[in-house]
Every structure is written in C-alpha cells, then in structure tokens.
C-alpha cells in the first residue's frame, strides 16, 4: 500500500490555494499543521499523511464553488465523511484538500407516506433509523461503524452490514442523490420515485468511492420496523459444520435477516472482552437473526434450530427477550475491538467467496497464517459469503506491517481464485488498488476508467484510489491499452 508521491508543484502553491479557498469559505478552511493532525488518516490507520487543507462547506453551493476552484487551480480533492473507511477511501493526499461533509449533518425530511428520508451526506447512518423510529420505520443497511459513519460515505462505498443478507447493500436502499461534478454542476438523479430517468447513474455513483462526484444530498428508502425480531446463538464443533448449516438454511428457502459466523479465536477474544455468554469450547459460533411477524419468526426460528442441530450444532440458544437478543449480538458487534485487545494492531480484510468454498478458504487462511507467522481471527457474514479475516500484527515490530500486508494480499488472491471478489463491502480504496488486475483484465479496467474520464477527465477527484493505473483519458479511446505502459510512472506499484 503506497500513496502516490505528492505533486510538489501543487504543494508549492499551498498558501495561494488556502487563500483562494478562504475567499469561498472564510471560516471553514483548516490549514494549520496542528489542527490537520486529526485529519491525517481514515480507519486505515496504517497510512497517514496530512492533507494540504481540510475544507468544511456548509451547503451544496459552497461545495460547487470549492470544486470549481480546485478544477481551475489544479488541486486534488479527497472527499471525507466520518473517516471510517477501512480501505483508505478517504486517506488524505499531501497535494490535495480534504472536502469534509461534517457540517452537512441535517435530516431534511422524513416522508413516511413515500417511505423515504431525505438527508444531508454528513448525517450518520444510525441517526436515520433513530429519527424514523417513532414513525415505525428504519434504514436497513447497518455497517458495524453505523454509530459514526456518514450516509455520504455509505453511498460512496456502497456500505453493507449484517442486514444486507436480506435487505441488500446501500445501493439497493437508495432512491436518489444530488451530487456535484468536478465542474461544479449540481446534478439530481432519482428521487422519491427511485432511480432514473435514463441510465441508472444512481447505481453508478453508488460505490464509486468519491471518484465521480461529491454527493451532497441522499434520499434513502425506509422500511417498516419488523413486528418481531429474534436471534439464535449456535455453537459448532467445527467451522465446516457451521458452514454446512449456513448452506442448509439457505437451501431450505430461508433468508435470515442476518447470519454471522465467528471462529474460535474471535469467540474467545469477545468472551474475554464483554462476556456475551458464547458457548465455551465451540470451534465456531453462528448467530442467526429472523425478523417478520410473530408467528412467522417463531416458525422460522424452529426451522433454523432443527437445521443447526441436524448439522452437528452442540448448543443452540434462542433469544426470548430483546435484552437477550442484544446480548447475543453484543459479542459480534464487539469483535473488532475485542480482537484489538489480543494484538496491538490489525488489518481487516474483506473478500467475498461463494459460500461452499468456506471450509477450503478458511483452511488455506490457517496455512497462510503459519507461513506468514501472524495470527488471524475470522469474522464472517456467512449468509452472503463475505469474509473478514482480521490479521493481527504489531506495527512497532519491524517488518510486521509488511508481513501483514503480504498476508492480506494472499488472502484476497485466494478469494478471487475461489470465484469471489476483492471486496464485499469495504471498497477498494488504496488498500486493494494494486490488486484490481487480479480480478479484472485490462479491457475490463479500461471500460471502468472510461467512465471515470466521462465524469472527471483531469483525475482530480480522489486520485490514487481504486485504479492501479492512471491513464490519460485520451489513451482510452479506440486504442488498446498495453500492459506496463503507465501514464504516471512516478506512482509506486505493488
């Protein structure tokens, strides 16, 4: 993982750039070195770099003015919501400004008749559900950082979460956005009627990692809160059996609201951390959540329980109260901090694999763990095959970070080789940028880059993220791209 070398000609103009930005936003440009310290990284903490300046606009027109200024003055832009990206989606650039949505934090409208909410991008994910709660509604995607992460960041990264097994990712729960192009044009796509008209640009913007435009308003779909929600806690003597239970549940036509698997290292770490009462001695713990109407949930819980026992579950506990359900989830939700107690640093991977490959992939991850000499804990959105190996390392030990990165690369290559993908919900960012050719051929990447060029031909928006090779847009015309011809040879490669 490397940042592009900053363009010294931009840095040399820093005072002039800051003055220009202050002419647009007199009170909301942060440029002193101390204050910029809090903006030197996102949740991919292994990479730190202070931005040229942090800019905090208060409305769409100010964002448009800032983007126009950056385009005219050749300044790079990194959009940032709450800075919770695990893939470096908002890792600052030394030659770019951070465009921060923190002040755009209002819920503009809760429209229950149309079952949607209109919000500004800096609103946190969880606060939408909290605000809609009294109306009987919620917003389904629930990334584990939902207390902090912003909906603008969720749109940029197409964030997932536990509930996306049944309810889909961010992209399946959006109705419209307003965004600003690098030219400062304000564009509205979709709205309360959903995506359209014309091409589904809403689907394209979602998950584009801040490379196509700056999202300034979001219309999300609200769902009625289910009448009943219950969780099951199941212990298995092996990961393989837990995996077989997951396959059997799905094969029986049941799509739970969530289906989460943890391996023994993780279970022991969370037990030590917050004692959620997970079965002692289990090699794998599976949590299932069913939601719906009362009799439905009871019936489905009974079916899932029977499937688990038939697949070798040694324990099965069903929540009988909301407090018990919350307690069952507490351990899973604390998996990252709990693992943090057994090692000073960790790298959270995010590949997706076909579910049936789970036993083989986990076995190979254990072997890789021995080869690289680093421990790994596995947390798994088992229902949709999204694997989160947590690689444990110590940044103070020389060479450990490099080993962790090499281990992570091996895991992601393994996921692609198993028929899966590099990232299920965290995004490519800087972290997986150089691995894109593992999954995509040159012509595949060229087609994606042509879209980048359609929106941002000068590559000002979040440069250095997602794409391993920056081509000048003219190159992507009818001419084929030839391997190894980098338009920007100064950028370090894997």
């Amino acid at each position: 993982m490397h940042l592009p070398a900053p363009d010294s000609s931009i840095i040399a103009r820093r005072a002039e750039i800051v003055a220009g930005l202050r002419a647009i936003l007199p009170d909301h440009v942060i440029a002193d070195d101390d204050s910029l310290g809090v903006y030197d990284c996102d949740a991919l903490t292994a990479i730190r770099q202070k931005p040229l300046a942090a800019v905090l606009p208060g409305n769409t027109e100010e964002i448009a003015a800032v983007l126009r200024f950056c385009r005219d003055h050749g300044v790079n832009i990194v959009p940032r919501g709450a800075g919770t990206s695990l893939s470096g989606g908002s890792t600052p650039l030394g030659d770019g400004i951070l465009l921060v949505t923190a002040r755009l934090n209002r819920i503009l409208e809760l429209d229950y008749e149309n079952r949607c909410a209109v919000v500004q991008p800096g609103v946190t994910n969880l606060s939408i559900s909290q605000a809609a709660s009294s109306g009987g509604f919620y917003y389904a995607p629930d990334p584990s950082s939902q207390l902090a992460c912003s909906i603008g960041g969720n749109v940029a990264e197409n964030a997932g979460g536990i509930h996306c097994l049944k309810y889909g990712l961010t992209t399946n729960n959006l109705l419209g956005v307003e965004f600003v192009t690098i030219d400062g044009e304000i564009v509205r796509i979709g709205g309360k009627a959903g995506a359209g008209p014309g091409y589904d640009l809403l689907g394209l913007i979602t998950g584009s990692e801040g490379l196509l435009g700056m999202v300034t308003e979001v219309t999300v779909r609200l769902l009625p809160k289910p009448a009943a929600v219950r969780a099951l806690l199941m212990g298995f003597p092996s990961i393989e059996q837990a995996g077989a239970a997951v396959a059997a549940i799905i094969a029986n036509g049941i799509i739970p609201a969530g289906l989460e698997l943890m391996d023994r290292i993780t279970v022991e770490a969370v037990e030590a951390h917050c004692a959620p009462g997970y079965p002692a001695g289990a090699e794998a713990v599976l949590i299932g959540e069913l939601d719906g109407t009362l009799a439905e949930v009871d019936a489905l819980i009974a079916r899932v329980e029977a499937i688990a026992l038939a697949n070798g579950a040694t324990s099965c506990r069903v929540s009988t109260s909301e407090a018990e359900r919350v307690k069952i989830w507490a351990g899973r939700k604390a998996a990252f901090p709990a693992t943090g107690r057994i090692a000073p640093d960790m790298l959270c991977m995010d590949g997706t694999i076909p579910r049936r490959e789970l036993p083989r992939v986990l076995k190979r991850i254990r072997e890789l763990s021995a080869e690289h000499g680093l421990a790994v804990a596995n947390v798994f959105h088992a229902g949709d095959g999204n694997l989160h190996p947590l690689i444990l390392y110590d940044v103070m030990k020389p060479g450990d970070l490099e080993k962790a990165e090499a281990f992570g690369t091996d895991i992601l290559r393994l996921c692609v080789e198993a028929g899966g993908v590099l990232t299920g919900e965290h995004g490519v960012g800087i972290e997986k940028r150089d691995l894109m050719p593992v999954m995509f051929a040159e012509e595949d990447l060229a087609q994606q880059l042509r879209l980048k060029c359609a929106f941002d031909p000068s590559h000002r928006l979040n440069p250095g993220k997602v794409f391993p090779v920056l081509h000048a847009c003219a190159e992507l015309g009818a001419v084929h791209i030839h391997g190894g011809q980098f338009a920007h040879p100064e950028i370090p490669r894997l």
Partner: protein
C-alpha cells in the same frame, strides 16, 4: 435490412468492428418481443443475439445463476422452478401486449428493458439482481464487470448501468443473477368498490406496516371488468398479495381479513392469486383497452394526484402507487406535454409505453433529461459507444 446472427462474444465484437470500419450502426435484437418499446431505431443492420443462449452455471445453494443473455425466460424459469427458486424481480411477459407471441422474451431483453413485476417494489428491479456480466462495447471489445457473488463493491457497478439501457451501451453476452427461494405459499386479499384515492391510501398504509406484502395493486373499474367471470367484479379492484413461509402468509392474511371482513374482503388462494398477478404484470387487462398507454414511476403518495391531473380512461396502479399505467385516448400528440409536465411536477418519470411508431418518433418515449443529466448521459454513452453503433436513438435522440 440485413440481419447478422452471432453465436458468441467474439462474433459480436467482430460485427461491431465491421460497423466501426464502415461507419454504420446496429439494431440489437434478442427475440424481438419488445421492439415496439422505445424510440424507433432506423438502421440498416440488425444484430441478432438470440443464438447466444443457454445456461452456463446454476448454483442453487449459492442462489446464483449464470446464463447467456439470449436465453429465453421460458427456459430459465422452469430450471429455477426445479430448485424452488425464482428471479427476484418477477419479470412479466410483455410479448402479447406488444403483439408478439407469448413466452419468447430473453433475459438480456428483460434486463435491458428493466422488466419487472409487482414484487419489484419489495424485492428489487433487474438492477438489484444483476451481479455481473460480460458484454461487448462500441470499441468492438469484449469485457466483463461485476462478479459472481451477491456482495461485491470491487470497482464501478456497471451492472446497474446496463439495466434499463435498452442495449444502447452494447449487447450483454453472459449475465450472472441473484435468485431467491420461491415462496412456499401465496395468498391474495381482494377488496371491491373503492375509488383509486381510497384504495391507494389503504395500500400505502399496508406498505408502511411490517406485513411484507409483495403485491399492492388497484385496477380501475374499466380494467377490472375484464376479470368478470374470473373474479366476478365490474368495479374497482384492490389486491394485496402475501408470499412466503406458510406460517407467515397465514398470519398476515388473518390480520388483514380480520380488519377488512366487514368491507367484503375475499381471499384468493394459490392458483387464482397467481393468475391475477400474472395478468397484472403482463398487462393483460391493459392490452384489451385501445389507446395510448403511459407508464409512470412515481412517489407513491403522488399517484392519486397524478392520475386526477391527467384524467386517464383506465388505470392500473401497482407498487402501492409507485407505478401507474394510464390509458389515454388515441391522439397524435399522445398527451405528451400534459403527462410529462404532470410527472415532472410530482417528481415522477413517465414513459410513452404504447403508441405507434410515428408518435414515438415525434414525441420521444422517456422522461426528458435536464441539461446536466443530458450532458452526463451523453458522456456515459460515449464511454461505452463513442461512434453510436448500438441502437442509436432508442432512448433519446442520439442515445
């Protein structure tokens, strides 16, 4: 008018290369069941994709299906049925509505035309089911995008763009779709005699309750009368469908039947329910009405106002008001100004769904784009197809 039949991606790419060489364009065709949808495409050569057909890989346990894009839905659905699975977006068969024969449409056509049924407001449109694809672009290159797993955020989400693009970004060659378990049970509750505003208020209310209804439709009396004999109705018909596990459906039906008993609610079981929703999805009742047909996707709350401002002869409402089908009298102007102005005022998108070729050519089909969206749309088109090889003008002039 010549036709080029291609059997694989390479041959499709070659056909594009030929067009690039001689500066010509292609009309893309699966089995031609929806050629009357969209603006007329007037080019000399047709690229027939129906030979690129067949299942590639079906993994029922993974809920994933990969097929060649020219595979007819009538081949896909029985294959899924064998494993008690379905396509989430409930693709209707619009063939007969457009005067083509039944059950011929391809999956590629269904995705390209954003074909979706009554369940789509709940379980998503084609855009929500297409996980990955291979296609040929206007540079004459085959490429792939997306993946073969449900959860994937690697790179731009090109599958979304291809859905509803009417082939203007190039032909899909192979598609990977998310499938769902087929519901174990289906029941529908029907109510009679409500006006559209009354019915839509009721349906919106149910959509906002945790009952997970998968069909919320209302037919005006003019359409419902065609069901006479089947359901014995000659007035407005309101239908609420539940699908899922047996216990779930029984419980939800019981909740609503208790509420509506005095209003004369009737329960339709399995086959009758299935038949009713098939007729709704396939536009079977609308097909029997003459006149111009508009399809309007709207914020649900706006549906009654949109209908009353347009004043249709007959109307079918789906998605609790989020989807309107309006029949208007045959007029050369297609009421286009009225419909589009009303739609725009309510944040809705109107499509001129049925009108003769001359009217579609003169007035366009899709909701007009504003200036910035128009520019971006042209840029996106050019990123895939700079020489306008594919279906020129099918969506908008030049697109």
């Amino acid at each position: 008018m010549s036709v080029v039949w291609v059997y694989n991606a390479q041959e499709a790419a070659n056909a594009v290369q030929e067009c690039l060489a001689d500066g010509t364009s292609l009309a893309l065709r699966g089995r031609g069941t929806k050629s009357a949808l969209g603006r007329p495409v007037t080019v000399a050569r047709t690229l027939d994709l129906s030979r690129i057909a067949g299942a590639v890989r079906y993994e029922p346990d993974e809920l994933i299906l990969t097929v060649k894009a020219g595979t007819p839905l009538s081949d896909i659905e029985p294959m899924l049925k064998e494993h008690r699975q379905i396509l989430p977006f409930e693709p209707p068969d619009w063939g007969p509505f457009f005067g083509a024969s039944e059950r011929r449409g391809t999956i590629g056509g269904a995705l390209g035309a954003d074909l979706c049924g009554s369940r789509a407001f709940k379980s998503g449109r084609p855009r929500d089911a297409l996980l990955g694809f291979t296609a040929v672009n206007g540079f004459g290159e085959a490429y792939k995008a997306g993946g073969r797993v449900v959860k994937n955020v690697t790179g731009y989400d090109l599958p979304k763009l291809m859905c509803g693009a009417f082939g203007t970004l190039g032909p899909l060659i192979e598609v990977t779709l998310k499938v769902l378990p087929a519901p174990e049970r289906e029941d529908t509750i029907v109510l009679r005699g409500m006006t559209a505003p009354e019915a839509l208020r009721l349906l919106r209310g149910i959509a906002g309750e945790p009952l997970e209804a998968t069909g919320l439709a209302h037919l005006s009396g003019e359409l419902a009368r065609h069901l006479e004999g089947v359901l014995g109705v000659a007035e407005g018909l309101t239908a609420i469908r539940f699908e899922g596990a047996r216990e779930a459906v029984e419980e939800r039906v019981a909740i609503l039947m208790g509420r509506f008993r005095r209003a004369g609610a009737r329960k339709l079981g399995g086959d009758v329910s299935h038949d009713l929703w098939k007729r709704v999805g396939n536009l079977d009742l609308l097909a029997r009405e003459s006149g111009i047909v508009w399809r309007i996707v709207a914020p649900p709350f706006a549906a009654p106002a949109i209908a009353s401002e347009i004043g249709p002869q007959a109307a079918q409402y789906d998605w609790a008001g989020g989807l309107l089908w309006l029949v208007l009298d045959d007029a050369a102007h297609a009421h286009a100004n009225l419909v589009r102005t009303v739609a725009a005022r309510h944040g809705a998108q109107a499509t001129l769904f049925r009108a003769n070729e001359a009217i579609r050519a003169a007035h366009g089909v899709f909701q007009p784009l504003d200036t910035t969206l128009d520019r971006l749309t042209r840029e996106v088109k050019a990123a895939f197809d700079p020489k306008a090889v594919f279906n020129p003008g099918r969506m908008y002039e030049g697109i």
